[in-house]
């Protein structure tokens, strides 16, 4: 197995870890961080798979998509953090409530 697939597998692992954290944690900041970890996993997969052209330069299209994705992820994170601050100001806590009917 070449190192390309090692990086790609690490990327899928990061994605799954982020998904787990997104589901398990109730604090909104942790959820935002988890989404960022998932996004990093996707970026890692894209960049790794772009390097499959042997002997030639890597495929530039996934690289351009990752640059676009990073900027979108940063702005979405900023919006999510602003929403979290707003939720904290409105309700006094930055966690999702866990009121299940028992």
């Amino acid at each position: 197995m070449s190192h390309v697939f090692l990086y790609a597998l690490v990327g899928t692992g990061l994605f799954t870890l982020g998904l787990y954290a997104l589901i398990v944690h109730t604090h909104l900041l942790r959820k935002i961080l988890a989404i960022n970890v998932m996004g990093s996993g996707v970026f890692l997969v894209l960049v790794a798979l772009a390097a499959r052209a042997r002997g030639a330069a890597p495929d530039p299209v996934p690289h351009a998509m990752v640059i676009t994705g990073i900027v979108v992820a940063v702005s979405a994170t900023a919006l999510a953090l602003a929403l979290m601050v707003r939720v904290r100001a409105e309700t006094g806590r930055a966690e999702l409530s866990e009121e299940r009917p028992e």
Binding site: S2, R52, P60, V71, V72, S75, A78, L79
Partner: protein, 236 residues
């Protein structure tokens, strides 16, 4: 402002019951195995669209393939991305900003460091913008460096002068998207398709769009960091 937390909700919200957690782990392991299998069965050699980009690089106006894809072959993506940045900033501003923000005065190290670093960062941003035509670099990298300079200034206690916080700030924030849309529309008026640059001056158009985008991206990232809309008006 510190509200007392309900102790019951705290213990309950921090924990998800163990059976659910185990079930989740099993399901996610299956997902990870599936994803890993899908990735590892891809063919180990695939040039992708690299050959196509290399064949058409001559007509793109730049010699860096990533910049060519970003600002020529798939410039529609980049146009919409500038829109996403602007909409995210509008969303953050419309939420009303950070309620109670206590500012502490920056220490002498941060103060001196930001004075030294900000001019260098602006220079680096200009270099990255220029070098993007033929080597790794470009509008987003340059814009991020500008944004970092802005964050450093904000941390050191600098605030945008109220004279510039109104219309000049808004013009800077929208100039990236604006120049992009104007270039695309003008190209349509002269009979080409949206953002289909004529090869003879594609390089100049890309540099123009990138320069405007760099300013807007840097300003937007710093504004996103500040969180609330700078006060405009003649006070202060």
């Amino acid at each position: 402002m510190k509200k007392t937390m309900n102790p019951k909700s705290m213990t309950e919200s921090g924990k998800i019951r163990t059976p659910f957690r185990l079930l989740l782990m099993v399901l996610l392991s299956a997902l990870a195995a599936g994803l890993g299998y899908a990735v590892s069965t891809l063919s180990s050699q695939s040039p992708g669209s690299g050959e196509w980009v290399a064949a058409n690089l001559e007509t793109s106006g730049v010699s860096n393939p990533v910049t060519a894809v970003l600002l020529n072959f798939r410039s529609y993506d980049t146009l919409l991305e500038m829109g996403v940045l602007l909409v995210a900033l509008l969303g953050v501003w419309s939420l009303g900003g950070i309620p109670e923000q206590r500012e502490s005065s920056p220490g002498p190290v941060l103060d001196t460091l930001s004075r030294l670093l900000v001019p260098v960062l602006i220079l680096v941003a200009g270099y990255l913008l220029w070098v993007g035509a033929h080597a790794p670099g470009g509008a987003f990298q340059a814009g991020s460096v500008l944004g970092a300079a802005g964050v450093l200034l904000l941390l050191a206690g600098w605030r945008l002068d109220a004279r510039f916080a109104g219309l000049p700030l808004r013009i800077t924030l929208t100039t990236g998207l604006g120049v992009f849309v104007v270039v695309g529309a003008v190209l349509m008026l002269v009979g080409r398709r949206l953002l289909e640059y004529p090869p003879s001056f594609a390089g100049a158009l890309i540099l123009l769009i990138e320069a405007a985008a760099t300013l807007s991206i840097g300003m937007t990232l710093a504004a996103l960091f500040l969180g609330s809309r700078p006060e405009a008006g003649p006070d202060r």
